[in-house]
Every structure is written in C-alpha cells, then in structure tokens.
Symmetry: C2
Subunit: 480 residues, 2 copies
C-alpha cells in the first residue's frame, strides 16, 4: 500500500493545524496524551505482539519486552515534560544601568513543528510508529507523521490505529499522528514544506539518501539519522588472562542476540594475538543457533556481507554457531590488525546479522593503527584490568564513539536520563541522541520574548510558573 | 592574500593536535585562555580600532564599543565554562534489580573537534576572528580556524596575531587558532576532514553555498549559518495613536543604525493605512544622514536592491534621509499588504543598507495574509497597546522569529544567558543561537561512560567533581 501525494498533503495539513495545539498545550495535557498512548499499547499487547511476531519473527518473548520498553519510553517522556528542565527557561531582567541599557529577555525552547519519523526494521515497537523518535517529538510538542517500515506494515497500521484512538479519547487534536507507506511517500515526506525535522533509524545508504533530500530542500531541515555502527571492542591480554572464558561467552551472546540485528552489535573485536581467545569464542558460539532474519533484504545481505569479508585473504573462519534450520547461522571470523589498517573499507564494513570479526593485534602500536581506521560508532567497549595502562587506547575510542563501555556488552540500551545513542558520523548525523531523555532536544527551537507584557508571555515564562520550574535567572540556575 | 591548500593542511594538523588538549583542559585553564584573549584585545584596542576604522569606515566610537562587546563576550564564555552547567552532567546509578539490570551511565557534553568560523563584514570584531563563534567554539573545548572576511583583511591578520601571542603566553597549545584567507580556502576549510562543525554569519547566497558543501561531505558536519532576516515590525493603530511620533523616531534611528547594516535591521514595518505614520517617519528620517557602506559589494548592492523594490508598481518613495556625501542615503519606501502577499519574493527580499519598507494594511485579515508570506527571521517586533487583541498576530510572529520584541527595536543584541540570535530558515540553518551563553551547545557532542572505573572517567564526571557542579543524578537535578 502506497500513500499518494494527495493523502500526504491531507496528513500534512492536519499536522500543521495540530502543531499549535501541541506546542501550547500545558505540560499536564501533553503528559496525559503520552501516557494514554502507553496505556493503549500496553492494553493491546497480546494483539500487537502476535502481529509483530508474524511479520518480524523476532519471537513473542523479545517482542513483549520491546512493548514494555516502548511504553516505558512514552512514560519517561511524560515525566520529562512534567519536570520541565527541557524548556531551558532563562530570564535576564532588564538593566537600565547597563551600557547599552539591557531589555528584559525571557527564553524557552518550543516545538519546531511537524516531525517526520522513519521507523526501523529491527525494533518494530521501540523504533517504529510509537518509538523513541515519535515519543520525543510529541513530548517536544510536535505532531508526527511516521513513514512505516515495509518490514512490518500490518503492525504499523494497527499501532497507528491504536494510537489515533487513544489520542482522540484523551482529547488530543486530530492530526497528531499519521502514517504513510512506500518509499516515494517517504521521500515526499522529508521534502514536505510542513515538516520541520526528521528522525531516522536504518541503513547508511537509506539514511544518507534521506539526509541529502532534507539538506537540499529550499529550506533545509535537521535530519537526525542513526545510520550504522561497527561497535568496536578492545580486549587486553590481562583481561583475557583474568576472565577470558567469561568474555568469550559474553561476546558470543551479544553478537548473536536478536540474530545479530542490533545497531549496537559488537561487530569487530580487537584481541591480542596468541591468547587462545579465538578458541574460547569458538567454544562459546558452538551451541548458539541463529534464526530467521527480519526481511528478505537482510536475509540476502547477510551471506553476501560474510562473503565479502571472507573474500579478503587475511580473513579466516574461526567457528560457526549451531546448525540453523532457517535464516542465518552465527559465524565468527578473524583477521589481523595490519590488514584492517590497510583495507578498512572492506574489513570494517558493518554487516547486519550474527557475525563478528576478531582482529588480532601485536602490541599497542599495531592496535592503535587499526583503531585509527575505525569510523564513528554508537559504542566502543574496553575490557581491561586495573593494571593495564589504557589511556591512549581510551582516547582513540572516545573520539570514535558516543558511548564507551568498561564492562558488559553494547547490546542493550537503557532508556534513561543519561543515555546517549549516537556518535560521530556515520553512527549518526547529529550531535544528539535518539534514545534517552535528551532526545527531546532534537525537536525544539529556542524563542526569546523581549520586554513582553506578562499577559502575552507563554504561561511557562511568567513569574508564577517560573517559581515551580527549573530555570536560570540573571545567570543563576534555580530549582523549584 | 590567499591561503594555499598546503597551508590549510598545516593549520588543520595543528588544530587536530590541539583538540585533545582543549577538550580535556580543566575549566580553569580554558577560562584563563579566554580571558587572556579578552585582555589582549582590550590592551590593543587603540591599534585595532584604527585598523578597523580604516577598513570598514564604521567609525571609532562604534568600533570601540564593539571591541568591548567582543571582549565581554569572551569573558562571558569564560564564566559559562566555570559555571559548568553547559556540560549537562547526568548520572544514572546502576540498578541490578531493574529488568533488564541497568548499568551505571555517566553522560557529559564534550568538544566536537576543530571548528571553522566564517566571519562577517558588518561586525569586524564581534562576528570576526575573536567573535562569538570563536569564543563559543573555544569555550566548548575546540580549536578554531577562521576564514577572514575580505572586507577587513589587515584587521583579521592583526587580531589573529594578537590572539596567537596571548594564547601562547597563557599556555594554550599551538594550533589553537589559525586564520585562512580567500574564497577557495574557505570552501576547502568547510570540506576539510579535520573540521567537525562550522559557524557562519553572512549572506543567504554565500551561506547556502557553504551549507551545501558541509552537507555534501562524505561525513556531513553541522553548519550553523546566520543568513538573512527582514525582521518584520507590526504596529497597531492604538500604538500609533498613543505614541506615533516616538515610534517613528525609533524606527528611523533603528533602520539607519550602522548605515542599515545590521542583520537585525527592521526591514519591513506593517502599519495601519491612513494613520499619518508615513509622514511621521518622513519627518524623523529627514535629518538622518547615511554614510559609506562596508564593502564595494554592499555599496553596489544597496541601490540595486532599492531599485528592485521601487520597480514594483505598488512601491512609492516616502522620504529620504539627509543628503549623504559618500555611500548610501537613507530611504523609506511604502507599499500595500495585498501587494506583499502577492509578490513576497520581490517585496520581502532582504536589502542590506539604510532602507525600510512600510507596508500599509487594512484590518487584521489583510495584515495576516501578508504576514503568512514572511519567511523565518531573527526577530519580530510588535508595537501594540494593552487594549489591542494581538493573540492571532503574535502567533504568526512567533512562528516566524527567534526573538519577539514588545518594546524598542531589534537592532542591539544583548550578549547574555537568555539571548537567542537565530530563527526559522533562512534566518539560520539551525535550532541554535549564535549569540549568548547557549551558543556553546553548537560545538559539543554527548558522550556516555558505562560502568567506568572512576580513574578512567573524565575528571568532571567523578563523584568529587559532581559535588561541585550542577548535575542530574537518577533523574533529579542538583545544584552544588
């Protein structure tokens, strides 16, 4: 089913009409609308998990967890809206004695206007119709038009229906949330004059094409894309000595989780040569089966990606996972740091699915030369011991990642105030996160009122409201 | 003088080497380096004002004030760095009981890396080598490479020399600040792989070209451009009744200030038909002389811009300013709101220099139809009385501007915590400001440390430092 240009225009006009209502709605209303969405999705959990499992084959257990994460995320943003620090309320009182005399300025952040959200294949709830981009855009006070992912069309439609009914029942305006389908409709969406910003999670090629459309508009709009990441892991010899088997098991579990279809999958793992870690990983992965992949495209791309890696003369196959009846079987590959430094374009290409590449290094210099070839990533992980001097390695990892881990594995992204899901290009196109409370900042713009009569100020900028909200006055940050 | 590709590569390599030093420098060092720049520029005030006056002809008085504004701005950012809330420090403690168990996350903002700054013709200090973009980029912890404006080359070179000496004496690393000259060098700068973000103040055409270069990089970088703004003013009949002569004098002073070469110049003024306001403005402007414009290009563009406006059959000349020996003579034009609504492309084109266009409206509907044709602006001004119902007009202005004024005139931009100098396209390309404390956010990216041993955390994220800095812990905002 493809949305026509005429249908998109209708959705856009409705979104434009809804925008001032969302933007000026009191925090209590906006929070209630977000919670109504969460409650409705929770209530429909059995039904939507069944549809999602049929379309994505991710399994009911995982999908049930993802619904909980998604509704938790909507409720987190309801709390963010009520807490109010996202408004960045700032007042400078007038100062007639200053040179030149200073007017009164009152600053806040306000919604940018209707937002386009491009949903992802691998999280049919958490990065889809009611996922993080939608939740943060609505929380910021903007209507949303979602481009459905072709991997789960029925689920997208049903989720949008549930959302529309919940929003209407909760008193939100018509036009708050719409769904479009088809690649052409997506392209038209990001170029539509009503749309003021876009969020995207997906492939580098698809994201880059949409980024280019957003940037080439007569009025360019911000495009927040999460595009791809190989999530390097560095393990020291001391760490392998101390807990090699445990690390091997952790890695095997992480790169095969969700059949390797997480954007935070550890795709390359730097290990010292000659430590026996390869054998430990081989032992750990032997019993782990793969499974069906999300879409036909991913199903075709996975063996092609593995073939592209093994075509390199330096690459060997270390081990396979358990025989897998359908879909992708896990595979562990290995190469040398020197080869990676020379042929990063091939060897550091992200490959969606249950594959990871062990990269043997001979000392720090060899490791660092290869690390310098690593592009921006969502995460980087360092497994070291207290006795290791890791400062130079850590500096290289920090430069390349948005989140640096010192224990555990990068799959699993907590939705909290502190989270950052982003990183230097091509991890994301922006200086912002697509997960966690601060994701709201992407869909807000500053506005300042100079010498405004109190009755014409937005209510949150009046003195009465400021007393109840975090704000800065004459440079001093104050809590209610 | 044109910077060669080889010279740019040398500057870029030095900036890349300086970046980790700036990024990890303690707040006290970074603040000291900013204050050293301010002190050095203040100390050289006589010398640089003389050069600036020779190159820009803006007059010693105005230029002396601009030096003070520029050094005040550097000191403001030193204070921002010390105050520390710009770091957005956020900690979520580990929670083993959560489903799934939650790791410890510590988030901060950190410098993006070397920044390109394109300076403006009309503020040879405040938006030039040591202007707001440079100050905020350095404050964020990033080395800067400035593209000099061709309108004040000698001043740019001398300012860069003073800055380099001051930074060296204060102990900042080599490579902290460099200067390039020539259009080709500017284009190469924004495409240079070392550069991670760019700030720009200038024309829509020049800014758009650089924006397109930044967006078309293999790794796109954020481009923060301040490109153009007509800064609409709306005056109600009641306001003219109450204080028409005062408003006319204020307008005449504002649109001719700096020979009309401010990006916040009130370019279009909506006035009710038949109020006598045109005559009042004519009276007010008669005694005001113009003067030489900043560059040959602007000198040629001004009469061409005025001609383009008066070529429209609806446009009449209301009045001229005093005879002006050299450069541009102030001129007031008038047209009708209906013509503006029909031919916005012509009539709402920004014209740099001492010209303003009065737009007569017949009632609210006529006014609003024309206002809907106004594109994004830095400012919008509403002069009304308490008895006016301005809610619909205000909504239209808010949608189109970053700063809304209810008294005074938009020229004059206080450099404070609350200021916002930005707005919807084409005012700026971004959701950020180029003036005021929050301009620092443009040159920062988030980074999160997960389960990091305390000794490997950046010092500001350790518990000891958190106790002295504003931060959020487990969702709760806390002040030191």
């Amino acid at each position: 089913m493809t949305t026509t240009t005429e249908q998109l225009d209708v959705f856009a006009a409705a979104a434009a009409a809804a925008a001032p209502v969302w933007r000026t709605a009191p925090a209590s209303d906006r929070a209630a609308w977000l919670r109504a969405l969460a409650d409705a999705l929770d209530a429909a959990s059995d039904e939507v998990v069944e549809i999602a499992d049929r379309e994505t084959r991710l399994g009911a257990g995982r999908l049930r967890g993802e619904v909980a994460r998604t509704t938790g995320q909507l409720r987190l943003f309801a709390g963010v809206v009520e807490q109010g620090s996202y408004l960045e309320l700032t007042v400078d009182d007038a100062d007639a004695a200053a040179t030149p005399p200073r007017p009164e300025l009152r600053r806040m952040l306000t919604g940018v206007g209707p937002v386009a959200v491009f949903s992802a294949s691998n999280f049919p709830f958490a990065f889809s119709v009611l996922g993080g981009d939608t939740a943060s855009a609505l929380a910021a006070g903007n209507p949303v038009i979602v481009k459905a992912h072709s991997g789960h069309p029925e689920l997208s439609r049903r989720t949008a229906e549930i959302a529309a009914a919940a929003l209407e029942a909760a008193g939100a305006p018509a036009g708050s949330l719409a769904l479009v389908e088809g690649r052409e409709a997506g392209n038209a969406l990001v170029r539509h004059p009503v749309i003021q910003a876009a969020g995207f999670t997906g492939s580098l090629s698809g994201g880059r094409a949409l980024f280019d459309l957003a940037a080439s508009r007569p009025d360019p709009i911000p495009f927040y894309g999460e595009l791809g990441s190989i999530n390097p892991v560095v393990i020291t010899a001391a760490a392998i000595d101390a807990r090699g088997a445990q690390l091997a098991e952790g890695l095997a579990a992480s790169f095969t989780l969700g059949v390797g279809q997480f954007c935070t999958k550890p795709g390359v793992v730097f290990v010292p040569r000659g430590t026996g870690f390869e054998q430990a990983v081989a032992d750990a992965v032997t019993g782990i089966a793969g499974g069906p992949l999300l879409t036909d495209r991913i199903t075709e791309a996975f063996p092609a990606g593995v073939d592209a890696l093994t075509a390199d003369p330096s690459v060997t196959v270390v081990a396979h996972g358990a025989e897998t009846a359908e879909g992708a079987r896990p595979v562990v590959l290995a190469t040398d740091a020197a080869a990676v430094a020379d042929r990063a374009d091939t060897l550091l290409e992200e490959c969606f699915g249950p594959v990871t590449l062990l990269i043997r290094y001979d000392g720090e210099e060899d490791l660092h030369r290869a690390l310098r070839a690593v592009q921006g990533c969502l995460t980087a992980t360092l497994h070291a011991e207290d006795t290791d001097d890791v400062s130079a390695t850590l500096a290289l990892l920090q430069d390349r990642a948005g989140r640096v881990l010192f224990a555990g594995w990068p799959t699993g992204v907590a939705v909290t105030w502190s989270q950052h899901h982003g990183g230097p290009w091509p991890a994301t196109t922006s200086l912002h996160t697509s997960v966690g409370a601060t994701a709201i900042r992407r869909f807000l713009r500053p506005i300042v009122f100079q010498d405004a009569p109190e009755r014409l100020l937005p209510p949150v900028l009046r003195d009465e409201a400021l007393a109840t909200l975090p704000h800065r006055r004459n440079g001093v940050l104050t809590l209610p």
